[in-house]
């Protein structure tokens, strides 16, 4: 009997230790556990501030510009440090980097998610730690569907402006719909991209009329110029009899890639109306004074978005100004005549 008690006692010790150190992971700490600062009410970051700016596809020029803008804003505000991380297209890395940022006690997180499906998890991590989180470029929501504060562009509106410009150039060119195709290329599993392309075709059709709208060829890409080029080359082969092309897509990578493929395939620049989105790649032809199918581009400034996001976050942390639910940055349609005056950074 005594022996049994002893065995039970010995077994209870590790079991108790196990219970003490156990967590289901579902607890929501009221304040920042994990060594994080609790900034949910703002106004408690009187000293130096560190903001983690985590971005998908951090090697794309738009996102490089965004970090540049964020750091410029931080320098202007004073005592603000921006630490960035490139998440690539990896949702798992997004979670890792949010955890790491929380662990080192950053005061705010701004994130461009690689996949909007990871939104609920990163929002939960940040809110459990008491750290404000803002979505940049791609909107995210928690598991109840409540959107996180957002800074960026309105995808449908951007697409509308692209469609409007393409319609204007198409009508000016006087092409017949039967001889023309619209080539729309984008990463088709990205909602923000689909919104842009849908916006473009809706506005284009509204302006020129359904009867005068050429057939649309949709091409799925990974949003890189090389992939867009490869896909467009195959599309051109399959549509060799088409005389004129209208090109739009999710970003400049898509439209410049498609335009290059069309020109390489023998389509004259005069037979291409390509309206880009970003202007940072389309401008290269303009800067070189080269005749190109890249006729215009909607200038979206990563620098402006980076600055706006950091300014809003710091205003919240220092002065308690609530994070605006939606901060929409300005866009401008540019072409070879005015891109420099509009502030396009053409490297």
């Amino acid at each position: 009997m005594r022996k049994h008690k002893l065995v039970a006692g010995v077994l209870m010790v590790p079991l108790a230790a196990l219970m003490i150190g156990c967590s289901s992971g579902q607890e929501s700490p009221a304040t920042g556990g994990s060594g994080a600062s609790d900034n949910t009410d703002g106004k408690d970051a009187a000293g130096p501030i560190e903001i983690a700016y985590l971005q998908k596809q951090g090697d794309q020029q738009y996102f490089v510009d965004e970090i540049t803008g964020a750091k410029e804003a931080a320098a202007a505000l004073g005592d603000v440090t921006i630490t960035s991380a490139d998440l690539g297209d990896d949702a798992n890395k997004a979670v890792s980097e949010v955890e790491a940022a929380i662990a080192r006690g950053v005061q705010g997180i701004i994130i461009v998610v690689p996949d909007q499906a990871v939104g609920p998890n990163v929002i939960k991590l940040a809110t459990d730690a008491g750290i404000p989180i803002m979505a940049s470029d791609d909107a995210i929501s928690d598991d109840q569907g409540n959107a996180a504060p957002f800074t960026g562009f309105n995808g449908t509106d951007m697409g509308s402006k692209v469609g409007e410009k393409a319609a204007e150039l198409y009508q000016a060119a006087g092409w017949a719909p039967a001889d023309t195709r619209i080539l729309a290329s984008w990463k088709q599993d990205l909602t923000v991209c689909t919104d842009r392309v849908d916006g473009a075709i809706a506005k284009f059709t509204e302006i020129v009329g359904a009867g005068n709208t050429p057939e649309v060829i949709e091409v799925g890409t990974d949003n890189t110029p090389t992939n867009a080029q490869d896909k467009a080359a195959a599309t051109l082969t399959a549509n060799a009899s088409v005389k004129h092309w209208i090109v739009w897509g999710c970003n400049d990578e898509n439209t410049t890639g498609v335009t290059t493929a069309l020109q390489n395939g023998g389509v004259a620049p005069g037979d291409i109306i390509s309206v880009g989105l970003g202007a940072y790649l389309a401008c290269k032809d303009w800067a070189a004074g080269q005749e190109s199918g890249n006729k215009a581009a909607l200038y979206i400034s990563g620098i402006d978005v980076g600055k706006a996001a950091v300014n809003a976050m710091v205003a919240y942390l220092r002065d308690g100004v609530p994070l605006p639910p939606e901060t929409i940055a300005d866009t401008h349609m540019v072409d070879e005549t005015n891109y420099e005056q509009s502030g396009v950074v053409c490297t």
Binding site: S24, I82, S96, E99, A103, D115, V118, P120, N121, D143
Partner: protein, 345 residues
Amino acid sequence: MPNPVHAPTPTAATPTAGKGGQFMTVVRRLGLENISLVLAITVLALLIGSQNSAFFRSSNIAAIGNYVVIMGLLAVVETVVVIMGGIDISVGSVAGLASVLAGMVYAASWGNWWLSMLIPLAAGLLCGLFNGVVVVFGRITPLIATLATLSGFKGLAQLVSNGRAQGYTGADAVYTFIARGKVLFIPTLVWVLIIVAALIHVLLRYTRVGRDIYAVGGNDTAARLSGVNINRRILFVFVLAGGVAAIAGILITARTGSGQPVSGSQGMEMLAVTGAALGGAALRGGKGSVVSTIFAVILLGVLLNGMTLLGINPFWQNVAQGALLIAAVVIQQLSSGERRVGLPK
């Protein structure tokens, strides 16, 4: 020319102290690779910590732990494949396929968590079996075979998911426990790595199967002549790789809250090979240890976490990772005493 058979357990101790005395005995017992890696981790941690003390926070240590789990699982099983003289660069794609299947099965079965783990695990084992069959019976080298399936399995994951994240497991108690829970103050994710690594360590060091794997990698002709069924062992190792990659995929689903078709194949396979090579596994086979690989993965995790912590440009992370791998393998090759003539073996 076949390689000489290396000692099955490179970290094993020699029974006597010998001329070098007790110090050398300790070094042999712990293994030179392990000591070097622990030293490197210590120096790196002190360096980063001296610049930013937040590095030493327990929460940051836990974050590093969580960060290395997926990479660690793939690196540990990659070590087994490398010890056998092969390589499997499809593990990341298998993880992606398993992740997306977990999300889809979870959604389709109205939240049946065990079924959503069982089916991806079975799929992972099948993927591994497919790799093994292609290598053994298709007579294709492991590098080419798994290069093909790297693309094939990734495409399969994209195909079944239509390229989209699948399901939502963020509200499930079991998945949440895996992603954010703790046991004995250690994250559940880290426990999964500890358990899998320990089981594979025991397999390699204390079982006949493990000794056979070292023997096949060291000298397959000698292994065959001594009665080892080489084909069976190769098939076993690839199936094991598929199974562990599937576990990594299920963890990806738990962490991200949804099935991610390409999360595992965003360079994770290269990190797995880097972890194995950095841990001293000889790419020619016959040498390697799970313990060293775990230290190597921790070193990578500390390096990548520290660079972000210190605000170093993210592009430098790739450079640092490559430089670390070259340095480790060069040191390893130079210490092997191989003649510096022609292409390395």
